[in-house]
Symmetry: C2
Subunit: 343 residues, 2 copies
Amino acid sequence: MFQITPLDRSNVAAIQQRIDNKTKPPGALGQLESLANKMALIQGSDRLSVANPYMLVFAADHGITEEGVSPFPSEVTGQMVMNFVAGGAAINCFCREFDIKIEVIDAGIKSPLPEHALIKRQRLGAGTANFCQGPAMTHEQVVQALTYGAIRVADCHRSGCNVVGLGEMGIGNTSAAAALMAAFTGLSAEDCVGKGTGLDDAGVRHKIEVIARALALHQHAFDDPMTTLAAVGGFEIAQMAGAMLKAAELKMLVLVDGFIASAAVMAAVAIEPACKDYFIFSHASNEQGHQRMLQHLDVEPLLNLGLRLGEGSGAALALPLLRAACAFYNDMASFESAGVSQV
Amino acid sequence: MFQITPLDRSNVAAIQQRIDNKTKPPGALGQLESLANKMALIQGSDRLSVANPYMLVFAADHGITEEGVSPFPSEVTGQMVMNFVAGGAAINCFCREFDIKIEVIDAGIKSPLPEHALIKRQRLGAGTANFCQGPAMTHEQVVQALTYGAIRVADCHRSGCNVVGLGEMGIGNTSAAAALMAAFTGLSAEDCVGKGTGLDDAGVRHKIEVIARALALHQHAFDDPMTTLAAVGGFEIAQMAGAMLKAAELKMLVLVDGFIASAAVMAAVAIEPACKDYFIFSHASNEQGHQRMLQHLDVEPLLNLGLRLGEGSGAALALPLLRAACAFYNDMASFESAGVSQV
């Protein structure tokens, strides 16, 4: 479905050589150096850029909320989408501050919202089914979700965008993400479930029990990424996975947000492992499973600010670091050009 | 010498209440929330701002380089200053990218540089004395250094600046910073000394031995911050301490960079503990003693990117997070204004 070229790493040493000739001790810019190296590999140019960055925020509801896994009611998903289009949410503030265009996608909110120029309608239903009772989605819905996600990214690409951030909103989606994590890693529900938007200890224990029940119900589905997504995924998570795969196909950089976005990464990587080369992990969230998820993916996040909001907020906050990586890679003097003595 | 008002914390709860009314789960913006709270306490306003930010880069040389503690020769300090004024260093790239004005101060480079409009001359000598043989500075030099640093910050303040980043350049200054750290914390040379710009293991062992010798020589000086600075400090470190104290007096935010800047913090805090309220610790550096220094100061840095460059580079990279904190604090909708259900 996606034609992803694995990243050609033959230039890694040449790029690092260029970085090492800059007027600084070798390695002194730490993770910013590996970030610039990765960007140079992907962009294949001597001048790196963050061009016309977009934040795509996918919103959808989850049948699993029937099990009482979130302190917030499903209605909040749609209410927050209206907040996004009014410009009042955290992600709006960060996108304005950092000059990122934002697009909001209704991937399947429970109650359809009024038509709005700023909401892309890519609805797959009125929320997923309760995955404690059966699969969250049909196979057809998963396929359509991947296509829908890909469409949004292809649109961004046509507008000259080369970095896309992916965020989400969906009451109940930490439950879907935890179930996906367990399915893809083999870890227990206990290792994957966290407080989400703010459960107390009893709430977390109940959520673990719900997820454990779902994992037992669907265990036969977990040997294939598409059936896994259908079993315990979400509309917004599957659309994010499609967006990630398309971005990799188009050699765009993907700024991955937190726990939910990383669950979409697990699905995307299971579908087409080469896509991971194009992903930048923006932050380690405060949701307890996320650190372990990042370890499982064998990636190092840029930020660690104790965020647990979603919406793409961590991805937006990391974008200035990409711009800083471009700036030093493009414009920093070499020892020779600056007349500085080298060791 | 400095009249610093301890931060009035009586509004902490009211400010947090305002943050908790924003459309997000309580605490979901992690460290950004405590950052906004601190900024609101300091700025005492309903609208937070990062106004006309400056990066002051203090440069000086160190007599301790005679002991072979750095792989780079002292000449590199002046060469890098010329690189700063030509706009070719990492700090220039980051300041351009993030719209920060940069000012370079010759606090006492070994060989005087040609007159240059962009270099402020606040020279205290041609580098400090070798503190393995006697005090690095005289008492008069320390007093003058504090005054010089304060002058630069007062200038920024007059231009409407309310956030100042402090960086440095000085071959040998990780040795001075390690000695100051040991003096102020009581930790051993081994706990405080690291690789600096890139020593190998034998180089680090030699540097530990040099610092241990200096600590033994000056131990009688360490019960007073001024005599400690004179004994094992540096011109740029003492000027940074003066800049920090003046910024706190003027209720400006100070963005503290890495290991050297944090050593200046230790001196400033020893002189006037209340100043620490005005400091934001931008990052944990890769220099081995820095994490321990931050623990000793009981502060949490914003970034942890494995940087070990100095120049103010980590401070510059953290500035967008301050802008993000202002953005959400100023402009994010409340549950009520956005019509979002609260738990």
